[in-house]
Amino acid sequence: MATLSDLETAIDLLLDHPLGIGQYQLVRTAEEKAYEAYVFGLCLRAARELNATPVLRGIIGPPTPFVFRGGPGQIHSTLRNFGYATFAINGQEFEVHAGVEFKGTSDMTHELDVCIMRAENARMCRRQPDDPPAASLIGAWECKFYDKNLRKELGRAFVGLMDDMGTNNRLSGLCSNRSHPQLKDYFRPQRRPHPHFQLTPLDSSNEQIFVNVIKAELKKMTAF
């Protein structure tokens, strides 16, 4: 039988642990970014599992360190040495970006948390500064770290965003460590983003599904 005093001790142990409140206060401003970095890493993993070598690059020079943007930014921005990754499969080159703005079909720009795009378009936009066109997009993912149920409006906003990105992109999804029962149904119709819910290292099968979806699409695209 546990007493109130036992409970107090157990709560203190959890909160005062090195990965408790102290760590939370250290990283809380970057929790969402850490989730983006995780999804970015899963894209690299998909490339690696197709026997490609992901190469980390910086816009100005070698990515040491590799810098994730603190907010939406332009692909050609050189204010910092922002990082991106490249990989090639069967002679076709791709780039992975985080927090880059794309030009929608309406000409309005949209930030994509994590995306895979054609490398040729990315290079062009760096050399002749411009926002990448919607047609250069292959996969786009909205990344949401939540400590509670996802909010419905996130799903609605992302559907609207992807609608403006035209029909050339092959993959899109809302990635989150949490879920929402109604959003799953909302994403069910064809051409809607895939609900990658409970995408977390605590569920390796969901991770593998995410990686496999990317692999399958890249394989299809690069088949001889």
Partner: protein
């Protein structure tokens, strides 16, 4: 199931008090998750025999036991999942190479859409990953130092998992009758 000398309401009160005393922002976030409540399906009995019962969605508050589960899930997200995201990203970056551009030529040898020539290095070696904490265009205020993602000890993560499991066990309650006697199924 185990019985305790406190009930779910007291446990929730103590947990929230302890969190709030250390970090009000975290306590607010967890309280928000609890206050969202939950959807249930309610069935309305038919008016007469010819009608079918009608079901509809209804949002109701969590019970105190459910609120404790919500709080545990929120704490797990911050104390276990975030360190795991960092470790996963660090590992996936380790398996990638770093691209070092070859020295720039006086006259560019490549066309505008041709790939730059890079030397791949450091595959399999740990990489430094920085998170900018503010938009690049921010003009005012002190510049925030980027947060460097460093791998987190797996043992520490396991300890926190165990701490959460222990707490979850202490949040399990027997159902009791109005006299306070435990009722086991």
């Amino acid at each position: 199931m185990s019985d305790h000398d406190y009930n779910a309401e007291q446990a929730l009160g103590l947990l929230m008090l302890k969190i709030r005393s250390r970090d009000a922002m975290l306590a607010d976030s967890i309280q928000e998750a609890i206050d969202e409540g939950k959807d249930i399906s309610e069935t309305e009995p038919p008016g007469d025999r010819r009608q079918k019962p009608r079901s509809y969605r209804k949002t109701v508050p969590f019970t105190h036991e459910e609120a404790l589960e919500v709080a545990i899930r929120a704490l797990k997200a911050h104390f276990v999942e975030v360190p795991l995201f960092i470790n996963s990203a660090v590992a996936d970056f380790t398996y990638s190479a770093i691209g070092i551009p070859q020295q720039k030529q006086a006259v560019p040898l490549i066309g505008i859409d041709e790939p730059e020539i890079v030397v791949e290095q450091a595959q399999g070696e740990p990489k430094e990953i920085d998170m900018e904490l503010q938009p690049e265009t921010r003009l005012s205020g002190a510049e925030l130092t980027p947060l460097r993602l460093k791998p987190i000890s797996v043992d520490r993560i396991e300890e926190q998992k165990e701490n959460l499991r222990r707490l979850s066990d202490m949040f399990e309650f027997d159902e009791r009758d109005p006299d306070g006697n435990a009722q086991r199924p």
